[in-house]
Each structure stands twice: as C-alpha cells, then as structure tokens.
C-alpha cells in the first residue's frame, strides 16, 4: 500500500516537471508573439521578405538577418559535416583502442569552450587569416559574386568557419554515439558476405543513416542559434549578399547588438519578432533531428518482438 502511494506520488511529481517543460516552451512562444504583436500587425508577412532595417524611419524588414543566419549555418554545415563524420568514424571504427579515450576527451573539451572564447580567437587569428586569404584570391575569381568585396577579414566566411569549428565536436559526438548503437551483427553480416573494412563501415553508416542525419541537423540547430562568436566576426552589416567575404548579419546577432538600444516600442517588437522566428526554426530543426536519432536508436534495438511461443 505504502509502495503504491509512493509510486503514485513519484509519478505525479515527475509528470508535473515534464508538463512544466512543455508549459515553458509554449509560454516562451506566447510571450514572443505578444511582445511582437505591433510588427506582426504592421508588416505582416512582408517583415520576412523586405530588406530595409531603418529604426529611425520605423521601417523593418528581416530578410538580411534570415539570409545571414541561413547562409552562415548552411555553409558551416557543409564545412563541418564531412570533418565531424570523419572524426566519428575514425574514433568509433578505426582508431587504436589506446587513442580512443584521449580523442573523445578532446572533442568533449572543444565542445565545452565558451562561445565568447571562440569569438576572441576568431578576431585575433581567424579574421586576419581570412583577410590574407582574400588578398590571394586570383583576379579572375574575384569577378565572381561569391568572392566579391574588399578584404576586410570579418564577414560570412569567418562566421561560417568559426561556426563549423564549434559544431564539429558536437556533431561528431552525437554521430559517434549513433554509430555505437549499430548492432555488431550488422557489421558482421557485411563481413560474412566478403565486405572489406571500408564496406563494413559503410554498411554500419547506412544502418545509422537517419541517426547521422539527425546528428548533422542537431549541429545545424546549434549553428542557427549561435550568437556571440558569430557577432564578433561576421561584420554586422544587414545586407543580402552572396559574397563569402562580405560583412553580413544574423538574427541572433542583431538581437544581441540592438536590444539595449531599442528605444521605441516598434523597434523592440521588430527584434522580438526576429527572436520568434529564430525560436520557431530552431524548435523545428532540433525536434526533427531528435526524432530522427530516436527513431534510429529504436530501430537498432529491434523492430519487433519475438513471436509468441519462441523455441527455447
């Protein structure tokens, strides 16, 4: 009897915490909507497709920030994914057992470095390096829109590189966990049919594919919301430009930079609405990637139960 009631109490308490989590998510969403109601009403969908950002005139369009966030995150993803997967495969499949622990430790360490520290490093090391890289771009290439612009160092490429560096340890640890959850019988099944080591690893990665996509998307979600380091190296100039070297702006960066100076209500509402969209995008991206990882792990545990009356 006592055990029963304790059990019930435990379930109620933990259930309440879980409900509180859902309430927080919904509450944040509601607060963001109500705090951005002015601009939602005034600009409607036009807010997302126009490029003017003029607080003095009270004219707001968020396109450059959305562009900058997506451009830097996707670019970071393109750079980080092969490296992260390479590290994950190396650690889980190829490296000598002796090296495994130190390497895992190192990646966890990189993931734990505060973003502002990456930003400082970006300013002092990455930005000058990108600037000198840009001065070495041959003239013929400089005519292309993606290489256009003066050599500033701060800009899209620096932002994407720093994001990539921050995302790699994260994506690679999740991908490593995902690979670890692949049943050994999958690899053995491939080996038994005459697979080379490379082919057996491919078979394991194929088995883990949804989880790996989830790991990559989780990294994407992280890149989307990253603020400090990007703010420090992207140049903070709201423009929609294809150039890797052009200074641009992101959603998170504009909120961080301008929130304290936003004097009038419309300006504040505009910044909060940007926050609302960032919130919605990251929620969807993270939710989807968790779902993928989860469904893959569930598949790895075996899709179905043994038939009833299975032989001993």
């Amino acid at each position: 009897m006592r055990a029963r009631s304790q059990d019930l109490g435990f379930r109620l308490t933990t259930g309440a915490f879980a409900a509180a989590l859902a309430a927080i998510v919904i509450g944040v969403g509601v607060a963001l909507v109500s705090q951005s109601w002015l601009t939602i009403q005034k600009f409607g969908l036009g807010f997302w497709s126009t490029s003017t950002w003029d607080p003095v005139a009270g004219d707001f369009g968020a396109l450059p920030f959305i562009w900058g966030t997506l451009y830097s995150s996707i670019l970071a993803l393109l750079i980080a994914t092969p490296i992260a997967l390479g590290i994950a495969v190396f650690i889980s499949e190829l490296c000598p057992a002796r090296l495994r622990t130190p390497l895992v430790f190192l990646t966890e360490l990189l993931a734990a470095i505060p973003s502002i520290v990456y930003g400082l490093w970006g300013i002092f090391v990455l930005v000058p390096a990108v600037r000198s890289l840009q001065t070495h771009v041959p003239d013929a290439l400089r005519a292309l829109p993606i290489f256009a612009g003066p050599p500033l160092g701060v800009g899209m490429l620096s932002a994407a590189l720093i994001l990539a560096i921050m995302v790699v340890p994260f994506t690679s640890s999740v991908a490593r966990e995902v690979l670890k959850s692949v049943p050994v019988t999958q690899r053995e099944g491939a080996y038994a049919l005459g697979a080379t080591r490379f082919e057996a690893i491919r078979a394991a990665m194929y088995f883990a594919r949804t989880g790996i996509v989830g790991a990559v998307m989780l990294g994407f979600g992280r890149a989307l919301g990253e603020t400090m380091a990007v703010t420090m190296v992207i140049g903070n100039n709201p423009q929609v430009s294809a150039s890797l070297f052009a200074p641009q702006y992101t959603m998170a960066a504009v909120i961080a930079n301008e929130f304290t100076e936003a004097a009038d209500a419309l300006y504040l509402n505009a910044l909060v609405e940007i926050g609302l969209v960032l919130f919605a995008i990251t929620l969807v991206v993270n939710g989807l990637s968790r779902l993928l990882i989860w469904s893959m792990a569930r598949g790895a545990r075996g899709p179905r139960r043994k038939p009833a009356g299975a032989a001993a």
Binding site: E188, A192, L193, G194, G299, P307, A311
Partner: protein, 279 residues
C-alpha cells in the same frame, strides 16, 4: 580422437577421400580439416586443441552447453574472429587443403567462400532484393542488372523464400517475419555461391514452425554445400546432421556420426549431456 602434432601447417595436405565408415555409409570428401586448433581471447583460452573434419554434402553439428566455445570455433572457420581485437589462433584449419590462416590468404575471398548465418537474423535495412544483391555487388560477382536479378531469384528460391516474397522483393526486409528474415539471411549468404555454410543457432529465436522450415531447408541444401551448424537443441542436431561434435569447456569431447553420438557415445560426458543429465 588422435592428436596430431602442432604446426600441422607445415605438413602436406591430408588425403581427402576416406574409406567407407564402419557403419557402412560411404564417407564423402573432407572439406574442412581442422588440426589441433586453439583459440584465445587475449589471455583467455576459449578453445583447446580442436581437431575435426567436416565433409562435403554433409551436415556437421556442434552441440554443447552454453559458453563451451561452439560459436567461437565456428567463427574461426571464416576468420570472423579476426575483427575482434586481441584474439589469436594456434594450430591449423584447412579448407580444400588450403590453410586459411596462411599469410597469403585473402580473408575477404575466404569469407565469400565460407558463408555465415547468425543466431539473430540480421538483414540490412534495405529491400529484400538489395539484401540478397549486397554480396553480389560488393564482390562484383555479376554486374548486369539482369544477372543480378536472376541470382537474387535463384537464391531466394534456394532458401525457400521466393514464393512468399516474389510480389514484394522491393519492400523492406524488416517487414518480414522472424523466420522469413532468417531465410532471407540464408538466401543472402547463398547468393555469393559459397562452398561452406556456417550457421550459428539459426533457429534459436524462431517458433517451431519456422524452425521446421529452416531444418527442411538445411536438409535440401546439403546436396550442394558443406554445412556446419551450431545448435543447443539436441533433437535438432539429431534430425539435421550427419556428424556431431560435442564440445565441453573449450574442448572437443567427442566427434562421430550423429547416430552414434546419440545412441552409443564413447565418452561418459557425452552420454550425460545427450541424455539431458546436465547442461
């Protein structure tokens, strides 16, 4: 059980055709010939001085209590244990007279010739068709679409699965029942045309009807293959095999015609085990 000196590797291959057995049934060609094989997981010895022969077109069964080394021994025959770090083999194992642990052996090619079916069915998360085609593709055995399709059908027929799946070969293999998945794994192994088929408790996770289908399949396949099967089910060993090896604590206690193992074993330990007095 005669003990052959170690380093049998350096001896000339043994004669492969042996005379009629004392029971009056003609023995077949020796396909797999293991001499004095020991196996180590790191410092731990899991097999000690195993010598036995498996014959072409015969089913050889390994029985013994759990943990006695049946799987380990089976996996030495396609060098599957190579992928576990820190393992080591002593003695010799020959297939068709060739030492499979010789330095010049191509392990990938060996594993193609010596197929394996696992205890738990392990189809790839692909279509039925692609599961069977996998070995053909990676080994580039056949390359044209038509030939691959032909081989896939042939293999599924050999594994007695074709009639059940012919209308849905492009559906996911994971949607099949447990017994069908295991027959798919057998089809997948047959597709690369091995000579030897190793099966590690292939029916242990299946219901009695699915088990019976696997046993019938084994019986039909033996006209084309050398089959070695691990089972902890003694009735199964008695039903499907021609020869039975009884393992106990990493040693081969007795190896003989299945009939003799179950009716007139030479060793007291074997008798106790097959009559169910332990294990």
């Amino acid at each position: 059980m005669t003990d052959v000196p170690t380093h049998a590797t350096h001896l000339p291959p043994r004669p492969t055709v042996v005379r009629a057995d004392r029971d009056g049934v003609a023995d077949a060609t020796v396909k797999v010939d293991v001499q004095n094989l020991s196996f180590y997981y790191g410092a731990k010895r899991a097999l000690e001085g195993i010598s036995l022969q498996a014959q072409t077109n015969r089913v050889t069964a390994f029985i013994g209590p759990s943990g006695c080394g049946k799987s380990t021994f089976l996996r030495t025959l396609n060098r599957m244990n190579d992928i576990i770090p820190g393992t080591r083999v002593e003695g010799s194992a020959r297939i068709d007279g060739q030492d499979i642990y010789a330095p010049n052996v191509d392990v990938v090619e060996l594993r193609r010739r010596v197929g394996m079916v696992f205890q738990k069915s392990n189809p790839f998360p692909k279509s039925i068709f692609e599961n069977v085609a996998y070995g053909l593709r990676i080994n580039r055995l056949v390359t044209s679409k038509a030939e691959i399709a032909e081989r896939v059908e042939e293999s599924l027929r050999s594994a007695a699965l074709w009639d059940e799946v012919k209308d849905r070969v492009h559906d996911s293999a994971l949607a099949l029942s447990g017994g069908q998945q295991q027959r798919l794994c057998i089809a997948r192994a047959l597709a690369v045309r091995p000579d030897v088929l190793l099966m590690d408790e292939p029916a242990s996770a299946l219901d009695p009807i699915a088990t019976q289908r696997i046993e019938e399949l084994i019986y039909r396949l033996k006209s084309q293959y050398t089959i070695i099967i691990v089972t902890h089910n003694m009735q199964q060993a008695a039903r499907v095999s021609d020869h039975t090896a009884f393992f106990w604590m990493g040693k081969l206690v007795e190896f003989d015609r299945t009939e003799r193992i179950f009716t007139a074993p030479r060793e007291k330990l074997t008798e106790d085990y097959v009559t169910g007095r332990f294990g």
